[in-house]
């Protein structure tokens, strides 16, 4: 479904060139969830944005990306934009502060010239567990978790096949995170969606994904099936350290931490 080979992303020129993503390759089968895990600066969000075609004016992107047999070039086709949707991290920032939920959800429908827009909006809201009373509210009138649901509803309006999720629950309270993760699982099952999920939280990735790649400093350190993560048997020392750190405060383990540069 999704195939990425040798993806390279460079910001800036000459001496100030920053190699954000180096030679990253992975593939995702239809209907699967693929996780990209890493600490800040690892390049995981950049990979997602490169796939979404958001970097064309700000960085040099090279390498091959194929999505549903369509090779991605500099610009994304309209069909791609219908098929591939994205959910962002910040529920406060990913909705336009002056647009009502109705406008926010109606926009993709109008861009892709879909019919029965009003119906689609109501259906999308129901699917994410929000009732019609939310339709004409502004983002500042609803909670963080509800905003994230609106973001997800927006991603569903065009009946996509692939959703790119950039830390969708990192800014949410733990109890709200559980609800949103459950929602994402259910939607994936009901609609046969394919996910690429970016997160720094190994537990979320272990819960949601079948395969994952660990990134550090722009490169893939290790790719593995989720069972390997659950069994606590990653191969690379960086991944092992990340896993240990995710388990909580362990003084002895911390003293053994290495610097990976």
């Amino acid at each position: 479904m999704i195939d990425v080979r040798g993806l390279d992303v460079v910001f800036g020129h000459g001496k100030q060139a920053f190699h954000a993503v180096r030679d990253v390759s992975f593939s995702v089968e239809r209907g699967h969830s693929f996780g990209l895990v890493g600490e800040s600066g690892s390049g995981k969000t950049t990979v997602l944005r490169a796939l979404a075609g958001l970097l064309d004016r700000v960085a040099r992107v090279s390498g091959e990306m194929t999505v549903a047999q369509e090779t991605l070039l500099r610009d994304r086709s309209r069909e791609f934009r219908r098929r591939v949707q994205m959910v962002f991290q910040d529920p406060f920032g990913s909705l336009h502060p002056r647009h009502t939920v109705d406008t926010i959800l109606g926009e993709p429908a109008r861009v892709h010239r879909l019919d029965r827009i009003s119906e689609r909006i109501v259906t999308a809201l129901e699917e994410v567990g929000l009732d019609a009373s939310f339709r004409f509210r502004y983002p500042h009138q609803i909670s963080g978790g509800q905003r994230q649901r609106v973001s997800i509803a927006r991603a569903l309006i065009t009946d996509p096949e692939i959703i790119l999720l950039d830390e969708p629950t990192s800014a949410l309270d733990v109890s709200v995170q559980a609800e949103v993760l459950n929602l994402l699982m259910r939607l994936k099952r009901d609609h046969g969606l394919t996910y690429i999920l970016v997160s720094h939280n190994l537990a979320v990735i272990a819960h949601m994904c079948e395969t994952l790649s660990v990134m550090q400093n722009g490169a893939v350190v290790e790719t593995m099936g989720v069972q390997q993560l659950r069994d606590h048997t990653p191969e690379m020392p960086y991944t092992r350290q990340l896993l240990t750190a995710s388990l909580g405060y362990d003084r002895a383990a911390i003293d053994a931490f290495e610097e990976f540069t």
Partner: protein, 302 residues
């Protein structure tokens, strides 16, 4: 009274049922916040009075302020002529009232020209960046570099004196700061996640500029506009004073000061009353602008 209750109820309803209702509710809540600021309300009162007076001019005035009554020259303010008469015997009160229409005309016309141009240039420059930004900003800089009154004078001298030409000259010298403001907002917004989300949706650049970026620039621009009103009125008055704006016998306040200045010592009311009018109106717009800024201030999260 029950109609009023329903309107208020509609405006304060928990769950808005339509886009119109949602929008009206937002405006209403902003209004409630604005209402709490007494100084801003004074500003609003002054501006509203200006508009009211201009509208009611035919009914408040005794004459059209243009007729000459040379026998009546330079009468002091009294029961018959509340603000006295000028050097040609015209009732100053009536001229002030009719002059308010001219003031509003100037202010309105300048606004209509300046806001769209400033927004367009600023938003496009800020969002697109690159060479478009450079070219547009250098253009803006050129206009910003000229002292307002001098450029206005030069334009009017070239185009000929007259109210419309004065308005044009003022507009040309006033739009630059708005472009700057709009650009600054656009630069901040450009990398927001909701803009990225719109791009991922496939919204065209024009669509993003019109529906996403511009609405967020509006508040800063409007606040700046109200704060600039004072300057616009004074520039028009200045042009009028120099004989480059409204031509006699039009009762434009600046022209009134100009023609009346030689009478300042003995018949103080002739230039002073229009001067006070300009002062009050400029102050009113300033206070209104301050009040609007407090309501729109992005840090309070409106």
């Amino acid at each position: 009274m029950s109609a009023e209750l329903t309107l208020r109820g509609w405006l304060l309803a928990e769950i808005p049922k339509s886009k119109l209702q949602a929008r009206c509710q937002r405006v209403f809540i902003s209004w409630l916040s604005f209402r709490r600021n007494p100084i801003a309300m004074v500003g609003l009162l002054i501006v509203a009075s200006l508009v009211g007076i201009a509208a009611m001019a035919p009914w408040i005035t005794a004459s059209d302020g243009l007729e000459l009554h040379l026998a009546n020259r330079l009468h002091a303010p009294g029961s018959e002529h509340w603000f006295g008469t000028d050097e040609l015997g015209r009732d100053i009160f009536d001229r002030i009232i009719w002059g308010s229409r001219i003031t509003l005309y100037i202010v309105g016309l300048v606004s209509i020209i300046v806001v769209p141009i400033g927004l367009l240039v600023g938003v496009v420059a800020g969002y697109l960046g690159g060479w478009v930004d450079t070219v547009l900003m250098r253009l803006t800089d050129i206009f910003l570099a000229f002292p307002r009154l001098i450029l206005a004078m030069a334009l009017v001298a070239a185009l000929g004196p007259g109210l419309e030409n004065a308005v044009l000259a003022i507009a040309v010298t006033t739009w630059s700061p708005f472009a700057r403001i709009a650009r600054a907002e656009a630069l901040t917004i450009r990398n927001s996640e909701f803009i990225l989300a719109a791009r991922v949706q496939g919204v065209s650049t024009t669509g993003i500029l019109i529906r996403h970026v511009t609405p967020l620039c509006m508040s800063s621009v409007i606040v700046r506009l109200t704060l600039d009103m004072a300057g616009i009125i004074l520039t028009a008055a200045g042009l009028g004073f120099l004989g480059l704006g409204a031509q006699p016998p039009t009762p434009e306040w600046g022209a009134m000061i100009s023609l009346g200045r030689q009478y300042l010592i003995d018949q103080w009311w002739v230039p002073t009353v229009p001067g006070i009018a300009i002062l009050v109106v400029s102050l009113g717009f300033n206070l209104l602008g301050d009040g609007l800024r407090d309501v729109f201030d992005p840090k309070s999260g409106t």
